[in-house]
């Protein structure tokens, strides 16, 4: 246990003196990770009641999920809405972030604050407001309506990621290109975009996940044959503990973990 006696801090504490910190931090990290991970083995239980560890393993709840037309329809809707949200929010956010960052106009700071309001206004308020307004124009239960609302939630995230990428990028390169005769648009696509492409991909994944995981707006605005996965899951959670949800949760955890690791990999490439 030589390691414990080694100096750990700038105030001459040893690792031994810090042991309590390591223990607390480990407990907190376990508390953060375990609850989400423990659902995975439980989803392979044979029993109606979720047990851990399962006494009998089976794929029963996965069959239940994949054979239910309700869940399949909702999954397709969620993926569809997530993809369309990504395709709408990413260009919208990148354009806005670029415009505000490069123009240096007096109004750009104010505009940035305005565009970020969807992150600040409580989502429940946006949800019922949009539900009411959509009711007037017949957009409730439509894919387009849901995508539009989700894109507004996702665009601020795209903007934040892209703005910080632009901050680390030397805009003079674009100026050089333009002084050599490139148009502004060409300079952006040939010089700037390739250098911030990893951030663009990260922000696109974030946009997809924002939509895919969104619950409250989906509860109000989606419905009928266009109800999302989260809407059905929420309804199921309020009524009883359906083990099918454990199977769906496992799949959703795998999706988000894959996306998270992808962004981590991407950001390590960028550096």
């Amino acid at each position: 246990m030589n390691w414990l006696k080694k100096s750990a801090s700038d105030t001459q504490l040893t690792h031994g003196d810090r042991l309590w910190l390591y223990i607390i931090a480990t407990i907190v990290m376990l508390l953060l990770v375990i609850p989400t991970l423990i659902v995975m083995p439980m989803s392979f239980s044979d029993s109606q009641y979720l047990e851990f560890p399962p006494s009998n393993w089976s794929m029963r709840w996965y069959y239940e999920y994949f054979e239910s037309s309700k869940w399949m329809r909702a999954t397709v809707t969620s993926i569809q809405v997530g993809t369309l949200t990504m395709l709408l929010a990413t260009p919208m956010g990148v354009m806005a972030a670029y415009a505000l960052f490069v123009s240096g106009h007096r109004a750009s700071k104010l505009l940035f604050a305005f565009l970020i309001t969807p992150m600040i206004v409580p989502v429940i308020l946006i949800a019922i407001g949009v539900f009411y307004s959509y009711g007037r124009v017949g957009l409730n239960n439509t894919i387009f309506g849901l995508v539009l609302a989700h894109a507004v939630l996702a665009a601020p995230l795209v903007m934040i990621v892209i703005t910080s990428a632009l901050r680390n990028y030397d805009l003079n390169q674009e100026r050089v290109a333009r002084s050599l005769g490139a148009t502004r648009i060409k300079a952006f696509f040939v010089i700037t975009l390739p250098q911030i492409k990893f951030s663009v991909v990260t922000s696109a994944l974030l946009a997809f996940l924002t939509s895919f995981d969104e619950v409250i707006i989906s509860i109000f605005v989606s419905g009928g044959s266009n109800a999302t996965l989260t809407k059905h899951m929420f309804a199921a959670l309020r009524d009883f503990i359906d083990p099918t949800i454990a199977a769906i949760s496992t799949i959703m955890i795998l999706v988000s973990t894959t996306l998270l690791l992808a962004t981590q990999y991407i950001s390590s490439r960028e550096k």
Binding site: A8, S9, D10, T11, L13, L21, I24, A25, V28, M29, L31, L32, V33, P35, T36, V39, Y49, L50, M92, M95, A96, Y98, A99, V102, S103, G104, H105, F114, L115, P118, I120, V121, P122, V123, I124, L125, I126, G129, V130, Y132, S133, V152, A155, M159, S164, R175, D213, V215, I216, L237, R238, I241, A246, S249, M252, I253, S256, T257, L259, L260
Partner: protein, 307 residues
């Protein structure tokens, strides 16, 4: 663009304006406008999804059941006890969640900030993994863990912590556990960011000058980490105020927060005026807190990394 803004040095030497000064400036302004217009789709979308709908609710909140302008929805909020209870519960849950997050989040952020950056990046996955996992999935996980014959009760009884199963879910306890779990990353990330910016030399200097480790921490390190802690706590608090899913599921109808009340009013009474009024109060409270916070604590500096 600064290239265009820079006056021609030759012209300045001679003390005359270049002949094309005016048209250059006009071009400059035009270009700025053209650039800003790239933000138009985003601006229009926010107007369509946030400004108009929320403005509409604002209007509805000042409309009585007869369609006339009135304050009846706000009067009800003062008269009926159930509204007052909802607000008390909302603040209670939000404050408690924030405190729990600070108590368990500070040591974690401190631990991460002490590690070499590569290692911290690895352990940071423990914070990011739940952050990226669907909120609904995490709420479900806690529902399963905390239920009467759930893992936590089984485990605690098998090691003799308590004899009969405790009621851990469908009440305030369950709500707080679930919400703290979901909010923790929002505290740890800004706190960790501000801790990383603290120069370690300062602690070294404090120790050199005779401070004990405890003194050095409280007098030097802690005050410098406060900005990140306040920013994180405010985000957590404000997000808690409008929370819907977790209290609805883990509270089991016993923890009625503002968002839960809003949906209940809409589902049971279809009373848009009353629901909107509650929403408006929620928004105003959120805005007041954030405005004070940005003024007093320079919240945006911590959030967006500006100095």
């Amino acid at each position: 663009m600064s290239v265009l803004n820079t006056p021609n040095p030759d012209a300045e030497d001679r003390g005359v304006e270049p002949l094309n000064e005016k048209s250059l400036r006009a071009q400059d302004v035009q270009e700025q406008r053209l650039l800003l217009s790239l933000a138009t789709p985003a601006v229009l979308a926010v107007i369509a999804i946030v400004v108009i709908p929320v403005g509409w609710l604002f209007y509805l909140s000042f409309t009585g059941s007869d369609g006339q302008l009135s304050l009846v929805n706000y009067q009800k909020m003062i008269e009926y006890k159930s509204y007052a209870r909802t607000f008390v519960t909302t603040f209670e849950v939000s404050i408690l969640t924030t405190l729990i997050c600070i108590m368990i989040g500070y040591p974690l952020a401190y631990f991460l900030a002490m590690l070499p950056e590569r290692l911290a990046g690895f352990f940071m996955l423990a914070v990011l993994l739940p952050f990226w996992t669907s909120l609904l999935v995490r709420t479900y996980a806690w529902l399963v863990l905390l239920q009467k014959n759930g893992i936590l009760n089984d485990f605690a009884m098998s090691i003799g912590l308590w004899d009969s199963p405790l009621k851990l879910v469908h009440n305030l306890t369950g709500t707080l556990i679930g919400m703290a779990h979901i909010m923790l990353p929002f505290l740890v990330l800004p706190l960790y960011g501000s801790m990383r910016k603290i120069q370690r030399d300062l602690m070294h200097a404090a120790a050199n000058l005779g401070a004990s480790p405890v003194q050095a921490f409280w007098k030097i390190y802690f005050p410098m980490s406060l900005s990140g802690m306040v920013a994180g706590s405010l985000i957590v608090f404000v997000l808690c105020l409008g929370f819907y899913v977790t209290p609805a599921v883990l509270g089991g109808g016993r923890v009625v927060m503002v968002a839960t009340q809003i949906t209940a009013i809409l589902e049971n009474q279809f009373n848009w005026g009353a629901a909107s009024a509650l929403g408006v109060v929620l928004l105003v409270v959120t805005m007041i807190i954030l405005t004070i916070a940005t003024k007093v604590f320079k919240l945006d500096a911590v959030l967006f990394g500006k100095r």
